[in-house]
């Protein structure tokens, strides 16, 4: 449904006083969440409706606040990796990489080339799994749990299971892997894993056109095209990153602009950019990224060099790594955008714990656009917009 223009420029004021809107209107207050199947976790939005049209939306996060940053101040550097797995539980590999890269930068630990190759491959495969989960749940948001959306959900989870099997072969876990350590990897590539990766990703890349055909349905197009437009100015103002920013027409990708791992050797990395900024553009960007990630992972898996997978000595005691002070910031590109880790070292008596570990989650900034984008849309479009933002409440509330 085309959003109603609320005659406010350049974008609606989130601090709009409801009293100013229309004194004669019968405002209806709807409480979407915290337990709602399509809020992607425990997220609550209070919506003020004039008929079917939202005139004001107040987001209320915080229902999954687990105090992760405070917890990390008690733990040594080697103990933090399994904790941050639980932040973004759809892409745990990239959470591990973010904190471990910050620790390595702080402690001056060199990562061997083989481990860097492995990290790149794991990141790209994890991106495929994350986008597949997003695609399935987004289609279910639009189609309803018992409607047509369940088909895409089932297909996407079938592919995601095959990727989880790859990770299970490598690490022994379906997720929450704990496979990254300070200075390298914990698990080496098992025999025959490369062929399995090729087989799995080939099957997925053959099936992506099937999903696109399913999602060319006129209902899907009408529910996503022109809905939830975030223009580039607003996106930059709110600090959106990742697919949300690229769907708004800003060509920005940390893998290319601030390369880490071995992304600086990938000269032909294609960054998907769309200019519309609506839900359809976000869908297109993510499907393009699916293809690109599959291509990169399949290209790199054949070229993994031989060598050690961990640079440092094997971790035998938790307080092995110590730093007196200093601060670093590391940002990496996760499926949801820039995941930043800001670390101040020098905590604890021995200096073996962080003094402060600040995590900059991309989903928190994505949810910041809720009060700007929701007004003017109908209630059913709010679900579509929220689904297209792909928020993960674990990293929003931390």
């Amino acid at each position: 449904m085309t959003p109603v223009a609320l005659a406010r420029a350049p974008w609606p004021d989130p601090y709009l006083n409801v009293d100013d809107y229309d004194p004669e209107a019968d405002l209806m207050v709807i409480n979407l969440g915290p337990q709602h199947p399509s809020t992607h976790g425990v997220f609550r939005v209070v919506l003020y409706l004039d008929g079917e049209i939202i005139i004001k939306a107040i987001p209320h996060p915080g229902y999954l606040h687990r105090g992760v940053e405070k917890l990390c101040e008690k733990l040594t550097y080697a103990q933090i990796t399994p904790i941050v797995d639980k932040n973004d539980y759809v892409a745990p590999m990239l959470n591990e990489q973010a904190v471990n890269m910050a620790f390595e930068k702080m402690l001056g630990v060199e990562v061997p080339l083989r481990a860097r190759y492995m990290r790149t491959i794991l990141a790209e495969i994890q991106r495929v799994a994350s986008h597949l989960l997003w695609l399935g749940t987004f289609a279910m948001d639009l189609g309803g749990a018992l409607g047509g959306g369940t088909s895409v959900f089932m297909y996407c989870f079938r592919e995601r299971e095959s990727i989880l099997n790859l990770f299970e072969d490598l690490t022994g876990c379906r997720f929450h892997y704990n496979t990254h350590t300070v200075g390298g990897q914990r698990h080496d590539i098992p025999a025959g894993w490369a062929a399995k990766v090729h087989q799995t990703l080939e099957a997925i890349s053959q099936r992506i056109p099937e999903y696109e055909t399913m999602l060319e349905h006129p209902i899907f197009v009408r529910r996503t095209k022109g809905v939830g437009v975030i223009d580039a100015d607003l996106a930059l103002e709110l600090g959106l990153t990742g697919p949300l920013l690229r769907a708004s027409g800003v060509d920005h990708d940390l893998r290319r602009d601030a390369p880490y791992h071995i992304y600086d050797q990938l000269k032909d990395l294609a960054v998907a950019v769309e200019s519309e900024g609506d839900c359809m553009a976000r869908y297109k960007v993510r499907v393009k990224e699916l293809r690109e990630s599959i291509r990169i992972a399949r290209m790199l898996i054949d070229n993994v060099p031989e060598g050690p997978i961990s640079g440092g000595r094997p971790i035998k005691q938790p307080g092995q790594f110590k730093a007196k002070g200093g601060q670093v910031y590391v940002g990496i590109e996760t499926p949801r955008g820039e995941l930043g880790t800001y670390l101040i070292a020098g905590g604890g008596k021995m200096g073996d714990t962080p003094y402060r570990l600040k995590i900059r989650p991309p989903s928190l900034h994505a949810l910041a656009c809720v009060p700007y984008v929701f007004p003017g849309h109908s209630l059913s479009d709010a679900v579509a917009i929220l689904g297209s933002l792909d928020p993960i409440m674990g990293e929003v509330d931390r």
Binding site: V18, D19, P23, E24, L27, V29, N31, P34, Q35, H36, P37, G41, V42, V46, Y48, I58, G62, Y63, L64, H65, R66, G67, K70, L71, I83, K86, Y89, V90, L133, G136, T137, A145, F153, M154, Y155, F157, R158, R160, E161, L164, R174, F175, H176, M393, G394
Partner: protein, 254 residues
């Protein structure tokens, strides 16, 4: 844990009808088997999926493991559900909501605590904002350990729940479910966490606010009242109007 068995209502109006007619009361056994079979194979699930375990719950509901083949459909409303699967960390902010949704589910109802966080809080248990397991708030029938449990483990937990339902409906004793980490049962007592007086810094007003779904107050401008008609009868009515709040319901009952 400690489910009060008298609260579990298995009575069906069909039983009363059958027992009223001599001869037909023999059919209650067969009817009971059918009802048990139906209750076991149509456990509609209300997913309290807050975090990581919710993703594994979705994977269990998807094509590989497929909870649907046990007749378990995921429902978004507690009023249509028989089984609540608590999947994920429950925070102090979320626990009153979980309790409220649990109270809205019709009897007989069951609860599965899926994952370490729902069982004991896992490594977040000492954090100020996390409650140490959902069983301090609502009674739990089956614990499924793991971080997160595989979908196959969830399926095994569903099978254990079916055995438990069979025993309960047959009136037999079933072993009490204990916490996997301590081997002990625990009484649900959300008051222990949210009781006024437990912490001097928490006032009763703050507790009321925490326990209720408070919406921000919206003060809409008052609508202009219609002007009274300038007649003698209307003037008499307005003079009597201040006396009305003293006996607000008197006129309606008469």
């Amino acid at each position: 844990m400690a489910v009060n068995e008298s609260d579990r209502s298995f009575d069906h109006p069909l039983y009363e009808t059958l027992e009223r007619f001599p001869g037909l009361d023999l059919a209650t056994t067969a009817v009971d088997k059918v009802l048990t079979w139906g209750a076991n194979n149509s456990q509609w699930i209300f997913p309290m999926a807050t975090s990581c375990c919710g993703i594994e719950f979705m994977a269990a509901a998807a094509s590989l493991v497929d909870l649907d083949r046990m007749g378990s459909i995921t429902r978004g409303s507690p009023r249509q559900s028989d089984l609540m699967v608590v999947a994920g960390t429950i925070t102090v902010k979320m626990a009153p909501r979980v309790k409220r949704l649990w109270d809205q589910m019709p009897e007989p109802k069951w609860c599965i605590a899926m994952g370490s966080c729902a069982i004991s809080g896992d490594f977040y248990r000492d954090i100020y904002s996390v409650i140490p397991g959902i069983d301090v708030a609502i009674p739990v029938d089956v614990y499924i350990p793991g971080c997160p449990p595989n979908p196959e483990q969830l399926m095994a937990g569903m099978l254990r729940l079916q055995e438990k339902v069979n025993l309960k409906r047959a009136g037999l004793w079933s072993p009490p479910e204990t916490r996997p980490e301590t081997g002990k049962t625990i009484e649900p007592a959300i008051k222990r966490l949210l009781q006024a007086g437990r912490d001097e810094r928490i006032t009763a007003a703050q507790l009321d606010q925490a326990m209720s779904l408070m919406l921000p107050a919206v003060d809409l401008p008052p609508r202009p009242e219609p002007e009274p008609e300038p007649t003698a009868e209307a003037d008499a009515g307005t003079t009597e109007a201040p006396a009305a709040p003293a006996t607000p319901d008197g006129g309606h009952h008469e």
